[in-house]
Symmetry: C2
Subunit: 647 residues, 2 copies
């Protein structure tokens, strides 16, 4: 039974969105001018580019790692997005040269993977559980689609179609086909992209097969391990929930295991559901969403709270200093949230997308675009980190961003998200003649509503100011609905069209204020999203945050840094009664709104040497200064803290 695709919003092609925004334009430009060249250089010096020559031979140093392909693929994907809106012949030439090597590396049967061609060709497809062949294939498919859409060039797309055709022959329910599925999900959503751009149904079918086969019995990874002569129970990682194969996906109700894998799987489930009309997959996504966002997500949108397995742990386990919250996982949450909001037109998904974007994603990259966090803790004491690292040789979580990583998934991941930001801001529901604004950022979107071109011009100082002005430009009178997200953090939104106030509450459906009218050129919608500083508390079951608040203003979560507040940040108190003043400081950290208020702390200098003493230690007043969380660690290394003592 092939059901119909689900009704779904459509994001705009990147070419139809122009970003001209005080907050985002510098970031998109830095991404293009600094991050993309930096990442290429890192790929080059680490051997990831040359590895495509397939000239590594056994015994030589630096054997190509089994996920190197994906790093280069994500870089190409990012370049493809960037080229869609910012032509750049030098970049394009560089990508073309890499693509030429990739194309040349494709095997006669269509297979395309560096590691399993030169390092262990005898093991092709023999260990889906641990290896990343299908994952790398998925990233190459995403790159191919993005580069094709950005430049119109088909070389890589054709290569990947050949590879996909070969994979389709190897995996599936047919006779002689492997029943396996990837240990690291990714190819599912990539196959749907390939299906959408090519119209080849077999790619969608394979995505659905991978999703349906996952976690069924007899367990493929058991069979596969035995075929390798291994005891499945002796697996280093121990539990199949690590890669979400502990149960068939429709029976999964809690987000388990490696967080990035989970996000890519759930995104693929949403994609397959959208195309096949499979409501059971949507229902599973909804249950998993509920679990992630009400039990297992940091206030920054970070997910996967432990470094051990880079994984989800259990409900309400959200340690701050030991937080892992991998940049890639927050990016994956953006991907999944974006798919869910397209499916359900419900702003709760876009709210989380925004939360992750402005906080747990952006924190992954330095302001200069050159350095990256893999882990994004909510509390950092560099002294403790250094000593722990010295004692326990654990250096996963660092107090400063790094130039690159052996496992370098995060840097190109953030690059591809920033390069494609426009795709997340708007959407169209063509059947309902509705234009959605998910994200507020300055620029222009060119839509087509009922066959009529419409331009939405957006002007805003978001996220620092809550006023958004949308100007409609079109020919004649066009009836359509403009659906504006009213963020959940905003409780006093007001709205006017051409100066005439509208009652937001009566327009609100699933978090979107829906203005249905006949629009004409020059119509101006003014949305006011007041941004008082909010003190946020966490559920009482989040034991670590009891007695503590996070500061949030608009979508931006704040933190204290030692640079502004001195050490022992855990001791700083911001009384609930203290006013918190928000001030835009243009020359700080690229321009940020800082929050300042009167607080106090114990006076460590007057404490004395005792470790314990009866209460009543001398305290001293202080001005507490908070900066946006995403901007931390761009000054001298020091303590950082999101959840502040309240008293």
């Amino acid at each position: 039974m092939k059901a119909q695709p689900l009704p779904s919003l459509e994001p705009l092609p990147l070419q139809q969105v122009v970003i001209e925004d005080a907050f985002w334009t510098p970031r998109v430009e830095t991404n293009r001018m600094v991050t993309l060249p930096t990442e290429y250089e890192q790929c080059r010096v680490t051997g990831r580019i040359d590895a495509w020559r397939l000239d590594w031979t056994p015994g030589a140093p630096n054997p190509p790692h089994h996920f190197w392909d994906s790093d280069v693929a994500k870089w190409i994907e990012a370049a493809g997005y960037s080229l869609a809106t910012h032509p750049d012949p030098a970049l394009e030439a560089r990508v073309d040269a890499v693509i030429e090597r990739i194309a040349a590396a494709q095997q006669p049967d269509g297979y395309l993977n560096i590691h399993f061609t030169v390092v262990e060709p005898e093991n092709r497809w023999r260990n889906l559980r641990d290896m990343h062949e299908l994952y790398c294939a998925g990233h190459l498919m995403e790159a191919a689609v993005a580069y094709y859409q950005g430049t119109g060039k088909r070389v890589l797309l054709d290569v990947l179609c050949r590879y996909a055709d070969y994979i389709t022959s190897v995996f599936g329910p047919g006779p002689g086909q492997k029943r396996g599925y990837p240990g690291h999900e990714e190819i599912e959503l990539a196959l749907v992209k390939l299906y959408r751009v090519t119209g080849e149904r077999r790619y969608l079918d394979l995505a659905a097969f991978f999703i349906d086969a996952r976690g069924t019995q007899p367990h493929y990874y058991d069979l596969e391990a035995r075929e390798r002569g291994e005891d499945p129970a002796a697996w280093r990682l121990g539990r199949y929930d690590y890669n979400q194969s502990h149960l068939p996906v429709r029976e999964q109700t809690t987000a388990e295991g490696h967080a990035v894998r989970a996000m890519y799987l759930y995104s693929g489930m949403a994609d397959v559901a959208a195309e096949t009309g499979d409501e059971t997959l949507v229902a599973a996504c909804r249950r998993l969403w509920e679990n992630v966002t009400t039990r297992r997500m940091y206030i920054t949108g970070g997910i996967g709270s432990t470094a051990t397995g880079e994984r989800f742990t259990y409900d309400y386990d959200l340690p701050n200093d030991l937080a892992y919250a991998e940049t890639c996982a927050a990016i994956g949450l953006v991907f999944w949230a974006h798919r869910m909001v397209q499916l359900e037109a419900d702003a709760r998904y876009a709210d989380v997308m925004e939360r992750a974007l402005y906080n747990g994603v952006l924190s992954g990259i330095s302001l200069d675009g050159k350095r990256f966090f893999y882990a994004n803790p909510l509390e950092v004491d560099p002294v403790a980190m250094e000593r722990r690292s010295d004692l326990f040789r654990s250096t996963v979580v660092t107090p400063t961003r790094q130039e690159w990583f052996g496992c370098a998934c995060c840097p190109p991941n953030i690059a591809r998200l920033l390069a494609s930001l426009g795709a997340y801001a708007y959407a169209v529901d063509a059947s309902a003649r509705t234009a959605y604004v998910h994200l507020y950022l300055g620029g222009r979107a060119s839509l087509s509503l009922g066959g009529t071109p419409v331009t939405l011009e957006q002007a805003t100082r978001y996220p620092w100011e809550g006023e958004v002005q949308l100007t409609v430009d079109t020919e004649g009178a066009v009836p359509f609905t403009l659906a504006l997200r009213i963020p959940a953090w905003c409780r006093q939104a007001t709205l006017a069209v051409n100066g005439q106030p509208l009652e937001v509450a009566s327009l609100l459906q699933r978090g979107y204020a829906r203005i249905e009218r006949v629009w004409r050129r020059g119509d101006v919608v003014t949305l006011q999203l007041p941004m008082p500083v909010e003190r946020i508390e966490a559920h009482p079951a989040v034991h670590e945050n009891a007695g503590r608040v996070a500061l949030q203003r608009g979508p931006v979560v704040y933190c204290l840094e030692e640079a502004d507040n001195g050490p022992h940040l855990r001791d700083v108190v911001v009384p609930r009664s203290a006013p918190l003043e928000a001030t835009y400081v243009p020359d700080l950290l690229g321009g940020v709104v800082v929050l300042r208020g009167q607080g106090w702390r114990r006076d460590a200098a007057r404490w004395g040497s005792a470790l314990y003493r009866p209460v009543g230690a001398p305290t001293r007043a202080m001005t507490v200064t908070a900066i946006p969380y995403y901007a931390w660690a761009n000054r001298a290394p020091g303590e950082m803290l999101v959840w502040l003592r309240e008293a």
Copy 2:
């Protein structure tokens, strides 16, 4: 240069101290009647007793572990102490039977170690770094001395003297002797005990040699590893500070590495210093003491804050839920503190001894004497523990006491401390005609001061009530000084002799109120140590405890348990202004003073499903009930918390 022994207080032989105390007598009796038989049984069923037959053969199951000897030794030592004050023919017969086997296991050259006799005889003395031959020897020496002192029987003492003589021939600075020293310290303090009971100077010299050789270059463990054909740098544990051999002991200024090893080393250093007059060792002990007690000790007297290496970490790193705080380490701190107070007659050592004893030591054993904690965290969430254990297979820290452990050091360690408690309570400085009272507990001490027998009768309801009455019984008029510890936790002590008040401040020297007078039979000293409930705060650098207080009354540290207060204990607030009422509850947990006060918490039931929300969640008032920390986990498993939110 052989200097004179340092002037030092002398503890009383166990036979001279009678404990008749509402708090301690039941514990000492449970130790004798329940714990000692239980531990014997555990040693028996696990093969530790039979192993002395030396009939294990390669290939047979259950090979004797290289520290089994020490478990049995500590049990014998505990029995020896118990027999000194409580004759028990059945127990004595049982010990004699074990000793007979041990004596029969001694090799012709005097060597005595099960593992290295039957499992790997070729490796005798080849890996001091990792193996426990000298450690086991030390425990056997302590057992021999205790059993000899408790029963007058010399069999084991003679066996251990022969073993010590052999060890003395193997190790030392002479030609052909090994320059090594134990990876797990213990034999140093044991050799001093053996020296004290035999007068054989060579035992003291060997103890001093082990201490002096430690951490010198070239490093013995480097040489030894190379001799085994191993790369010293490939050591699993990596850092020589793990066993305190990173520096010569006199250059060590911070407490590093495995906490139990550190305590046994520092105790040995104090012992050697006392006997040899080596002030440089005392100075090192003082520096290390300062570091431990002002930077690296839990309020419970627990030390060694991480399970990884059971070790000290770094200054102010005192996590509550991840605390290791091994029972043996707190016991080791009691040993070291006791030696320091004898050396320096300064109550700050006895204060810490008391802190550890009533809190971090006693928490190691269940009220029924049958179950034991290895780790003693200050915060427990059994749900989190279970899930962590499930996810990470880490089961080191448990929310309930266990019957036994594969590494069973803690159970017999606590038994030997409880059986010898009397030795810690009193001391005499014969040269200064001074009797010291370190610990307050009911009973009698028989002293000799200036050749005159004096009995001190102590009556008190300590630690629940702060009144202590000491009655002197002697012949005629005896001039001596009675030095009573004024605990640092007490700020309003009062003192009277025969009803005549004395000014405490003017009598105070290094924490002891020194009453110098001519005493007569029936003189009564009344010491009042008022015990208000104290809220204690931790140094601002202990980040985890910011905004939190511990409740302490007298020497007893309190905690909340879920059984009294429901779950989410981290959320419970006890405002500083709330009175805390102390009530003795005879039928609770063997009779304890509980603390009760009015507090509040957020109302989880009315919170809703959101993970984060603006402040202002509904709260509800509650009666907060705190019980002594040592008594936790004697009811239904649940959360436990020492450091409470204050507001």
